[in-house]
C-alpha cells in the first residue's frame, strides 16, 4: 500500500506562485483598450443629493465619460429574506440617486484612459449635498428621534426576529422565572473591517460582436455573481462569464455582488471597451462590507448547583446602510441557532432587531454570527461560574452534552451531527497544565502580577447547507455542491469544482481527495475552480463549506468514477462487474491482482471507444451534484493564558492552546493554517481591532495606520492538537474548519483577561481590550473600591 494522500500534510501546491509574486490577481490582467473607472464616493454619512455637476470632470484630460445614478437602474439585491420577521428590503441602487447613506456610498463614476486620470477627475465631480444627521450605533438607531435613513423604514428597524416566536419567548420566561441564579451582561460586538490582502477589483469586457460579457472579479462565489449580474445588467447567464482568478482573501466580504462590479459591467456595455476598477485600501475600508456590529443584552439562567437551564438575548444588530447578501441572516439564523453551544440547556431565546445605520453595510465576516453567539455563551458561562463560585471549567463540564454519534436535537431546532466534547476539554486542560496554572496564578497575584486563563468549549454550525433548509430560512440560493471529473486520453485528470477557494488551499486538498480515491498520482491532477464557463454550477466558498460540502460532492463523483472504471475493466478482463476490485489505481478480478488493468489504460480505451461494453458511454467523465442532508458541527476547546501589566493595561498573550475536532482531516497542515489565521483574526477582535466612527459618521479607522490589524509579534506560538469525531453524514467524515479559530478565540482571550483582572474587581470592558481601555477599567474599579 502506498502512503495515503488523504490525511497527509503535504505542502500547498498554490504556494510557490503565491509567494513568488507570479500569481495573477484581477488587477494583474491587462486588456488592450481598457478604460479605468473611479467611483465618486460620498464624504457624508447621510445627506440629500441636491445636484451633481460633472462638467469639470468631463473636461479633464483622458476622461471618456462621467455617469451618475440617473443614467442607470442597477439595484443590488439582498439574499437573506428571513421569514416571519417583517423584513423590509429598501432599494439599494448601485449609485445613490436622491440620498447617500454612508461615507463611501457611490454617487458617480468616471471612465478615463488611465487610473490616475479617472481618480483626478472623480475628485472634481461637484456634488451639492444637504447634510443630514448620522447614526452609527444600532441600538440608538431604533430610538425615537434618531435620523431616519429610509422613509418607509420606521425607526430604522429592518426586521425584528423572535427565535421560535412568542411561544418560545414564553417558554424562555418560564425557565428564567424558575432559575435560582441569573447573570446578565451587555456586550458590544464591535464593528470590524475585514482586511483582505487584496482589495476588491473588477475587469469587465463586453464583446458586442458575440454579445458576451466576461467579468474578472474578486469574488468567493462566481456562479452567484453570474445569476445576480445577469438580472441586473440584462446580459443572459449563457452569455455571461465570471472568472475569479487568484483571490487574495475574502472572509465573507467578497460574497456580495457589489455596486462597483455591476457598474464596471454596465460601463463596458455603454462604451464597448473593457472597464477596470481597482480600489485603494482606504476606499476598501469604507466601501467593502464590515462585520459584527451588535449591541447585545444577554442573560443566562441556572440552578444553584450549576445546571444551566436557559439563555436569552436582546440583540441590536447593525445592518449598515443597506442589506447585504447575507445581511439579515447573520444575526438571526447563523447566530442564535447556536446559542446552546456544547451545553445541554433547556431553552434558548433571542429577540433580534436589525437596524439600518448610516455606516458601511455589514456582511459575513469569518464566522458570521457564530463568533458573536459563542462569545456571549462563553462570556455568560464565566460570569455564571463566578456567581456560583464554581471553577469555570467545572461549570462547563457539568453542562456538556454527553457524547453522541448521530444526531443531537438542540432546543434551538437544529440537529448537531456528532459530538464528543469532554475529551477535547480534557486534552486542552492537560496541555495547559490547568491545575498547576491556578496555583501559579495565585502565587503571581501575591507578587502583584496579574495572570489570567480563559477556557472555551464550543461547537458551531457550518458547511452551508441543506438546500431545503435554505429555502425554509429565506436564503435565496441552493446549498448543494458539484464536481466534475474529466479525464484526458493520456490519463490526466481535471477536477472541476463548484466551490471557489481563495486562500483555503482547495487546489491541494481536492487533489488529495481525488488521488486518494482513485490512485491517480497528484502530479496528474489539476483542480479547476473559479470560472463559470469551465466549472459546474456551485454556490461558492463561505460558511466553511469547501471541504464539507464540495468535498462530499467530489467523494460522490469518485464513487461514480470507480463504478464507471469497473464496468470497462470487467469488459476488458472478461469478468463480472461485481468481481472487479479497484485498488491504488489498478483494477483486477478478485483474487488475481497480477492480471490488472491500470486506470490510465481503462481511460484511454474508453476515449478510443473501439470496444465499449454494451450501453457504456465513450470518453471518461463523471459529474456529481451533492445536497448535504445536514450541516456539520465542528467543535473543540481552547485556552488562552494572559498576563496584564496593571500599570499600563497591556495584555500579553503568553500561551494559546487549541484542540479542535473537524472530523477527518484531509491535510493537517492546511487545517493548522486555517486555525492559525482564524485565531489571529479572533484574537484581533478581542485585543485590538475595531471600527471607530465619529459623531458625524466619519470612519476614523480608514487606513491601515489607524485600523489595528493584529501583528505577528502579538502572538505566541499556537499550541494545536485535535480529536477526531467524524461527521456521520459527510461521506468523508469531514467537518468544516475555516471559521473555528475566530469563533472560539475571541471569548477565550476575553475571558482570560477578565480572569486576570478578577482581583481588581473589573467585571466588564468593551472590546477591543486595548491597553487604554484595560488601564481605564482598572482605574475605575480601584477608585470605586476605595470610595
Amino acid at each position: 500500500m502506498s502512503t495515503r494522500m488523504f490525511g497527509s500534510g503535504i505542502k500547498r501546491r498554490e504556494d510557490p506562485r503565491l509567494i513568488t509574486g507570479k500569481a495573477k490577481y484581477t488587477d494583474d490582467i491587462k486588456l488592450p483598450g481598457t478604460l479605468h473607472m473611479a467611483v465618486v464616493r460620498s464624504p457624508h454619512a447621510h445627506a440629500n443629493i441636491k445636484g451633481i455637476d460633472t462638467s469639470a470632470a468631463e473636461a479633464m484630460p483622458g476622461v471618456v465619460a462621467v455617469y451618475t445614478g440617473e443614467a442607470m437602474n442597477l439595484p443590488i439585491p439582498t439574499g437573506a429574506l428571513i421569514p416571519d420577521c417583517n423584513l423590509i428590503t429598501p432599494e439599494h441602487p448601485s449609485l445613490a440617486k436622491e440620498k447617500v447613506r454612508y461615507v463611501g456610498d457611490g454617487v458617480a463614476i468616471v471612465l478615463a484612459e488611465n487610473r490616475y486620470q479617472a481618480q483626478d477627475a472623480a475628485d472634481v465631480v461637484k456634488v451639492d449635498y444637504e447634510v443630514l444627521g448620522a447614526i452609527i450605533n444600532p441600538e440608538d438607531a431604533t430610538k425615537d428621534g434618531a435620523p431616519q435613513l429610509f422613509d418607509d423604514v420606521p425607526n430604522n428597524v429592518a426586521f425584528r426576529w423572535l427565535m421560535g416566536g412568542a411561544e418560545n419567548q414564553e417558554a424562555s420566561n418560564k425557565v428564567f422565572e424558575a432559575a435560582d441564579v441569573v447573570v446578565k451582561e451587555r456586550i458590544v460586538q464591535q464593528r470590524l473591517q475585514p482586511t483582505t490582502m487584496e482589495p476588491r477589483a473588477a475587469l469587465a469586457q463586453w464583446n458586442a460582436a458575440t454579445e458576451e460579457m466576461t467579468l474578472w472579479v474578486t469574488t468567493q462565489n462566481p456562479h452567484i455573481h453570474r445569476v445576480l449580474l445577469s438580472g441586473i445588467i440584462g446580459v443572459p447567464e449563457h452569455k455571461l462569464r465570471i472568472i475569479a482568478p487568484e483571490v487574495g482573501g475574502g472572509f465573507g466580504a467578497k460574497i456580495d455582488l457589489y455596486p462597483d462590479e455591476a457598474l464596471a459591467c454596465w460601463a463596458s456595455l455603454q462604451t464597448g471597451r473593457p472597464v477596470k476598477w481597482t480600489e485603494t485600501r482606504s476606499e476598501n475600508y469604507v466601501a467593502m462590507t464590515h462585520g459584527r456590529d451588535h449591541v447585545e443584552y444577554v442573560e443566562l439562567a441556572a440552578t444553584k448547583d450549576g445546571k444551566v437551564t436557559g439563555i436569552r438575548s436582546t440583540v441590536y444588530a447593525g445592518m449598515g446602510a443597506y442589506l447585504t447578501t447575507f445581511g439579515a441572516g447573520i444575526p438571526t439564523i447563523l447566530h442564535a441557532l447556536i446559542y446552546c453551544g456544547v451545553y445541554a440547556f433547556e431553552n434558548a431565546f433571542a429577540d433580534v432587531i436589525g437596524a439600518f445605520t448610516s455606516a458601511t453595510p455589514v456582511e459575513a465576516y469569518r464566522g458570521a454570527g457564530r463568533p458573536e453567539a459563542t462569545f456571549l455563551v462563553e462570556r455568560l458561562m464565566d460570569k455564571m461560574a463566578n456567581a456560583l463560585d464554581m471553577d469555570p471549567t467545572e461549570l462547563r463540564r457539568k453542562n456538556l452534552i454527553p457524547k453522541f454519534e448521530d444526531g443531537y436535537a438542540a432546543p434551538t431546532g437544529v440537529t448537531y451531527d456528532s459530538g464528543d466534547y469532554e475529551p477535547a476539554l480534557d486534552k486542552v486542560l492537560e496541555m495547559a497544565g490547568y491545575s498547576d496554572f491556578r496555583k501559579e496564578q495565585e502565587e503571581a497575584r501575591k507578587n502583584g502580577k496579574y495572570l489570567g486563563i480563559g477556557v472555551t468549549t464550543y461547537t458551531e454550525i457550518c458547511g452551508l447547507g441543506p438546500s431545503e433548509v435554505n429555502g425554509a430560512i429565506g436564503f435565496q440560493a441552493g446549498g448543494w455542491e458539484s464536481s466534475i471529473i474529466r479525464m484526458s486520453p493520456t490519463g490526466k485528470a481535471q477536477v472541476l469544482i463548484g466551490v471557489s477557494p481563495h486562500g483555503q488551499g482547495g487546489a491541494t486538498s481536492f487533489a488529495q481527495i481525488f488521488s486518494d480515491g482513485t490512485g491517480i498520482p497528484m502530479d496528474d491532477i489539476e483542480v479547476v475552480h473559479g470560472d463559470t464557463n469551465t466549472t459546474p454550477m456551485g454556490w461558492g466558498t463561505y460558511g466553511s463549506r469547501n471541504a464539507a460540502v464540495g468535498g462530499a460532492a467530489l467523494a460522490g463523483a469518485i464513487t461514480k468514477f470507480k463504478d464507471k472504471a469497473k464496468v470497462m475493466a470487467a469488459h476488458m478482463l472478461e469478468a463480472a462487474v461485481e468481481d472487479i476490485e479497484y485498488e491504488d489505481g489498478q483494477l483486477y478480478v478478485k483474487g488475481s491482482p497480477d492480471n490488472a488493468k491500470a486506470i490510465q489504460e481503462i481511460v484511454l480505451m474508453s476515449h478510443l471507444g473501439w470496444d465499449m461494453p454494451a450501453g457504456a458511454e465513450p470518453s471518461f467523465e463523471v459529474s456529481n451534484f451533492y445536497n448535504p442532508p445536514n450541516f456539520v458541527y465542528p467543535f473543540g476547546a481552547h485556552i488562552a493564558i494572559v498576563e496584564i501589566d496593571a500599570e499600563t493595561g497591556t495584555v500579553e498573550l503568553k500561551r494559546y492552546l487549541a484542540v479542535d475536532d473537524c472530523g477527518h482531516q484531509i491535510n493537517p497542515m492546511i487545517v493548522a493554517g486555517q486555525i492559525h489565521g482564524g485565531l489571529a483574526q479572533g484574537i484581533g477582535q478581542a485585543l485590538c481591532e475595531g471600527s471607530i466612527y465619529d459623531d458625524n459618521g466619519q470612519l476614523l479607522t480608514g487606513s491601515m495606520m489607524d485600523y489595528a490589524v493584529p501583528r505577528a509579534d502579538m502572538f505566541p506560538n499556537f499550541e494545536l492538537d485535535h480529536t477526531v469525531t467524524p461527521s456521520p453524514h459527510q461521506p468523508l467524515g469531514i467537518k468544516g474548519v475555516g471559521e473555528t479559530g475566530t469563533i472560539a478565540s475571541t471569548p477565550t482571550v476575553y475571558n482570560a483577561v477578565m480572569d486576570a483582572l478578577k482581583p481588581l474587581s473589573v467585571e466588564s470592558v468593551d472590546m477591543p481590550l486595548t491597553p487604554y481601555r484595560v488601564w481605564e477599567a482598572i482605574q475605575n474599579a480601584s477608585n470605586g473600591g476605595s470610595a
Binding site: 461615507v103 475628485d123 466619519q698 470612519l699 480608514g702
Partner: protein
Amino acid sequence: MELTGKYTFEADQQSTWDLLMNTKAIAAAMPGVEELIPVEGAENQWRAEASLKIGAIGGTYTGVISMSEHDEPSKYRLTVEGEGQASIINGTAVIELLPNSDDSNKTTIQWVAEANISGKLARVGQRLIKATANMMSKRFFSALAKMLESDSTE
C-alpha cells in the same frame, strides 16, 4: 473637533487688528495660499486656493473664507468652507485680540475654533489634523509677525 491656540504679537492692539484685516498680508502668510480673491457681491468674503499636505494627503483645496462679527479692534469671527481631495472641511473660529496689560506693544491673539472634517481626510488624516493645524497657525502668525517687524523697521 475643537482647535484652540494663542500667539503674541509685538504690536499694539490696533496695529495687530489692521494687519489681520489686510487680505494681502494674510494671503502671503497663509501656508500654501497664493491670493485671496474677493467674492463678487459679498462683503468680507474671499475665495482661496491652497496647496496643502496633511498626513499622506497632499493636493489642492478650494474654499471660501468669510469674516464677520467685527468688533474692532478686539474680536471677529472667521469662517472657512473648503473642499478638495474628496474631503470637506468646515470650520468657524472666534478670534480675540487681547492687549497686554503690562506692555501696550504686545497683543495676544487667542482663538477657539470648531472644525468638521469629512471624507478622505477624516479617515486617513484625522489623527494628524490637530498637529497640522497647530503647525500651520504657528507658521501663519509668525509670517505675519515678520511682516510687522519689517514694517516697523522701515
